[in-house]
Subunit: 120 residues, 2 copies
């Protein structure tokens, strides 16, 4: 299974999902699947910012006793963004409507991360 | 009702909660309620870092079309941290065990934020 089919499967399984991407911590997306109705949102610009933020969270966690960071979620007025670490270099990001199924989103990212990791 | 009683009420309502605090974006806690069993964790150091991160997320959101950021969550191996904006200067932070009730935590912070705001 290719990256893209994993991403399509995430978006399909989660109600309210807008887009799912495999990204590097440099802010560059390896592969993205976005639903047509999300075209008005400049998700890419947001994700470059968020990659930078997740990178800082990762560094902060290394100096703290809270353990390795596995997941970050940023919930704003129009978009809920879930991020899950895949490897030290890559992470999965899922954007969804605030009305979407948040719990299902977290679950699907958790089970998809090892599948994506196996192909990196 | 004082700040402290709001914070105690949050910790009491959420299974697995370790501590709850009202913090400023300068990383200084206004008031904190921590359960005794959480004494081994240096939550304060983590929260100073997280305040800085939340502040950046807030700034990033202002330049993006994702709308105002209401909530941030950082889930690491040992501690799950939920943050919710109360005002442009202050936020609520709740630390809980990864086995705790995440959904209840989000809900309780959401209904507590306006109560705390009313007293600021």
């Amino acid at each position: 299974m290719s990256f893209l089919s994993h991403l399509e499967s995430v978006v399909k399984q989660v109600n309210g999902a807008l887009a799912c991407s495999v990204m590097g911590f440099d802010g560059i997306a390896v592969e993205t699947h976005q639903v047509d109705s999300a075209a008005e949102l400049d998700l890419n610009a947001a994700w470059v910012e968020y990659a930078n933020i997740l990178s800082q969270v990762k560094t902060a966690a290394e100096t703290l006793k809270t353990g390795t960071v596995a997941e970050l979620s940023i919930n704003s007025e129009n978009v809920v963004t879930l991020m899950r670490l895949v490897s030290p270099e890559y992470f999965l990001v899922l954007a969804m409507r605030p009305s979407g199924n948040y719990g299902k989103g977290r679950y699907v990212l958790r089970i998809t991360a090892p599948k994506v990791k196996a192909e990196l």
